[in-house]
Amino acid sequence: MKTLSTTAALTGNSRREATNPAAATGRHYWRGLDELAATPEFRQFLEREFPEGASEMTDEVSRRHFVKIMSASFLLAGVGLAGSGCRKPEDKIMPFGKAAENYVHGTSQYFATAMPTRGGAIPLLAKSYEGRPVKLEGNPLFPGGNGGTDRYAQASILNLYDPDRATRFARRDAGGVLRATSRQAALDALAELARQFAANQGEGVALLAERTHSPSRRRLHQLIAETLPKARWFLHDAIDAEVHQRAATKAFGKSVKPAFHFDKARAILSLDCDFIGAEEDSHNNIRRFAQGRRIGKPTDTMSRLYAVESLFTLTGASADHRLRVPASSVIQVAQSIALELGVPAAAKAPIVTEWITECAKDLKASGSAALVVAGNRQPLAVHLLAHAINNALGSVGNTVQLLEAPGRISGDLPELADALNTGRVETLAIIGANPFHCAPADLNWAAAQRKAKTVIRLGHSEDETAAHCDWHFPLAHYLESWGDARTSDGTLVAIQPLIAPLFGGLTDLEFLARLCGLAETNPIRIVRETFAALIGSASDATWNKFLHDGFAPTTAAKTVSATLDSSAAVEALASATPANPGKTSLEVVLYRDAKLDDGRHANNGWLQEFPDPITKIVWDNAVLVSRKTARELDVVNGDVVEISLGSAKIEGPIWTQPGMADYSLGLALGYGRTAAGRVGSGVGFNAYPLLTTKSGHIATGATVRKTRRKYTIACTQDHWSMEGRAIVREGNLDQFAKHPDFAERMNAPEAPVEAPMYPNPFDEAKKTALHQWGMSIDLSACVGCGTCVLACQSENNIPIVGKDQVKRGREMHWMRIDRYYASNPAKRQFGQTFRKEESQQFDEWIDDVQAVNQPMLCQHCEAAPCENVCPVNATVHDHEGLNVMVYNRCVGTRYCSNNCPYKVRRFNYLDYHKRPLSELKGPFYASPITHRTGGEWDLLRWWKDQDSGMRADDEWDLIRMIKNPEVTVRMRGVMEKCTYCVQRIEGAKIAQKVKAGASGDVVVPDGTIQTACQQACPAGAIVFGNVADPESRVSKLKQQQRDYSVLEFLATKPRTTYLARVRNPNPAMPDYTAWPLSFGEFERENGEVNFGSRHGHEPAAEKGGH
């Protein structure tokens, strides 16, 4: 493990340490030392002249002014040249004093670790460069795993380098403000508390933490229960992921939790369960689900997914049949389905529709291969009913495995609030949680917390809760911590630090041990003791293997069999009353945000700027409503409305969401933070005031009042329809069996081939190349979760640009997920290409839609349109088929972007890396001649300090540490785009050549190179490799008949091709259509697809193709 201090010792070429002419070592210019060189101005010029960040035109200048300043620089350059000899700055190389073992400077090291989550942990492999972690990947060794992760794991590395983290030990002064204190003073205070606790056995001590699955934490909990028997523990999570375990425990009468095997299931019914998106452990769910849906040959089978939900979720987008009902009515649907299957369900008002009857029939037909899952925001009764149905179908033990799970040993937040209010808590220790933001409104947390005499907190940042604590301790990030965890299947995984705590933070284990006066406070020893006890071996070899692999094999939880207590469901259902939301009694659905989780990632710019997988909104949440609801409430997108629920009132902007249930308001939690930091404070609106302990995440009886205000929402995809074009091609399974070439049949009529005027130079070049790179993306496997987007951002140093810039269409993601809606073509008017995007929200067709997702990135066209138009040859082909972007040639004409039919090129309009978000406003930087900052003329400010308007030092120092050293950090005025992770390709080629030495074994074996997106994809939808090798995986996929190119009629010959999506609808269902709706739209616009002859596209051409 390298720490920061050794990092700094390796190279001394940083911007700030660049030159020191007064260094004792002396300097010796080969053309003689000039006195001028020692002046501060000249040194500044030298520093700035050298194209280190190549950032120099970024100071507070407009384009015009830039020219003036540059001419001044050239004059100065002339002076410099004439006087001194133009030298580069003198840099130092700082090798180790004592060599470090097993360290090769310039190569990356990988360490296994894990990210703790509510549902368990995600095993990771962290890449460390010069002692700092720079990229996280899923641990490919982990049993059953494929190296995939989720969005939060990919982005969590940015939290480590968050400049707004808690960086100090702080104590509240008499004035109520947190003031920094020394680490030692803080630890002494902990020790003093520990002595007090020991004296009275922990009387009046309450510990509030977030849920983890750490065996060490659990062991400490038990140790503390022995030493301080009167101390009480409480757990709080705004998102209740534990409901699955509670339900299973209640239903089966044993302490168990369910594990859902979507891969084994043939028919899946989701009862408001967004297992692909908002549920815990979604990456495993996606992996299993994709496994059950994977098809290669037309004869293959796949699972079928029914979704019953109110919000349009990723699960709904992947579903073959989707029923939109208000979330509060899901219980009725569940009861009705149970009745159809003969499961006692105490249904008072069963809904008998064809949808439900046929769905139930299909579940019954699938028998033990059926799977019913209930979502975590649904009441316990729905979960119990789902278990009862699964039990009746015989799927318990097959698609639903019951795993042994340790029972609950802590209280919950309402109990803590009660204890506080009755004065039973003297000292409250909060570990990680942020109840000031997340606690249910009816607990009146602020008042309750004040009743404790001392509040001491260990937190990631000085947030809303920190402001009301007496002591605040910085929490170590998991990449700085020793720890352990159990994954969702119970396997023990190691959490090992990649770097020493940047700000001296404590892990939760150390904090607890110190606070409660345990003998052992060193977290690594705590973890090792736990490990030794669990594994039964304290040997170094076992421990080292555990750290190396990242997990302890065969520690997974045991599967147990249990019999269902059928009365549990009936009992719970007896008290359930169906709610009927309507215009004056709307339903509120509070959901876990796909980006900020419960608000913990609010200061993570990558996640803030990640477009929501369904709404594609960035930097905001919105009040999601259906078209009908919006019409009845007389609101349009962007109208700010006031939502009243009981005594609580909140305000937020309206966003019409296709496929939403009527009279349901979807509100994402986690926004509206007031003390998140520079990135997250004041983004969106806070929906927590509507959360109460009684109603939970689904509440009814809300009313909406329109205010007169408007609010602008930044959305990265404002057009919803493909307009009948064959961008995403879809077929149904039965049709695919009959017409396996349907995707190819959707090709546009080929244009008559004319001999090109010039030969493509690439055709010659590729004859001599060792590899030809290509990619295949399986749209059947892709669920649109967006993990790839964040992996790409992390790997390729992609900056964030802020809401204002996204609104201007300047987001920088090299990879995006396009989400299109398709509707029944009979229901909609076509040929209205020139309608405004805003008017879509009024169209009836958006009520019942199918959604498709398509990852879109540079297609690496063999005949790339971008290349022809570049005046400076900054984008060219290499001989292996990469469309390469040469940053140092680019002059920023943006012609390439204009000529790219896939719109995948991104331009650095402003200096996104070096400027803080507050500076990234408007089309240009404000002119320094007319603009003032803080009352000071900007030009003067610039003259005094050329770094003014740049990121603050504390921000920059941390943010630069996350940059991937193998990828150029692009400056303003440069075009960029997906490179197929050229750094990984070149790295693998070099490694192969090094291995080959004096031999010709230089072809990189298939599977060696994984692009960042491919690596992160939990579904395994993306495959990259050598298309010149017919045996490579990517070649085999491209040989499938589902393979097609987007916009193939442009003859760009993309290297990225897609495998058409296949749906598996049930012909008996009322909403069954022989082909997916998007195919219907296509036929409506292009004429019927002829499957008769080999030249089937010709008749279509007559009816007017593209």
């Binding site: 840099d91 001599t768 390469v884 080959a996």
Partner: protein
């Protein structure tokens, strides 16, 4: 009307054109020569904190380059040895020499010796040592006769055209891998024979080892 301008001013436009032309040519030629790495970088020889002589260690004593630059075959970066590497010998040899005070101090304290960087690639160039030295390109091609340098200086321009010269014709420089660190090695003492051998053997190596003469942007710029 009397002449406002004297008669010689009639020639002024011509003088301006010719003078301007000369000036422009001069500036262009000046920039062309003086602003290029060939002029700016070759010969750069800063004073190092320790007067380490490659000529003594490598030239006279014959210590292989890779004894100190031990990671050159594994990493893009050819490491500068740690002070403890120096002490492997110097705790026996010249134990108390005052010239080695800094080295001894550094090895004892762990504080690095601030060597002055001589060869430097711009940040947008991703040069990799390992792939060159493992595939028959000797240190001498880029660093010059380091084995004869008392104090290291910048021997080659290391400009893009310098890289491309070799990348366009690797056969002219490639040599048997075991001779990589033998900076005095030649195919033959007779220049004519050496050139002929280089051509024949070079082409054979390029063919047998499937050496790609990479001239694509992606080879060095990412």
């Amino acid at each position: 009307m009397s002449a406002i301008f004297p008669k010689w001013t009639n020639r002024l436009p011509l003088m301006i054109i010719i003078g301007g032309g000369l000036l422009a040519t001069g500036v262009t030629a000046g920039v062309w020569y003086y602003f290029t790495p060939k002029y700016v970088r070759v010969g750069y020889q800063p004073i190092q904190p320790v007067a380490f002589s490659h000529a003594t260690h490598n030239g006279q004593l014959g210590i292989d380059c890779r004894y100190c630059h031990s990671m050159v075959e594994k990493s893009w970066f050819s490491n500068i040895p740690s002070s403890s590497t120096c002490m492997n010998c110097h705790n026996q040899v010249l134990k108390d020499d005052p010239r080695l005070a800094l080295v001894r101090e550094s090895a004892a304290s762990g504080q690095p010796i601030p060597w002055v960087q001589i060869h430097r690639m711009p940040d947008f160039v991703y040069f990799n040592h390992s792939v060159h030295v493992n595939r028959g390109i000797s240190c001498v091609e880029c660093h010059g006769q380091i084995n004869q340098m008392e104090e290291v200086y910048h021997a080659q321009p290391l400009s893009m055209s310098f890289c491309l010269d070799c990348h366009r014709d690797p056969a002219a420089k490639i040599r048997p891998p075991e001779k990589i660190t033998d900076l005095n090695w030649k195919w033959s003492d007779d220049p004519a024979v050496a050139a002929q051998q280089q051509k024949a053997q070079g082409q054979k190596f390029v063919h047998d080892w499937r050496v790609e003469s990479l001239q694509n942007c992606s080879a060095c710029h990412r």
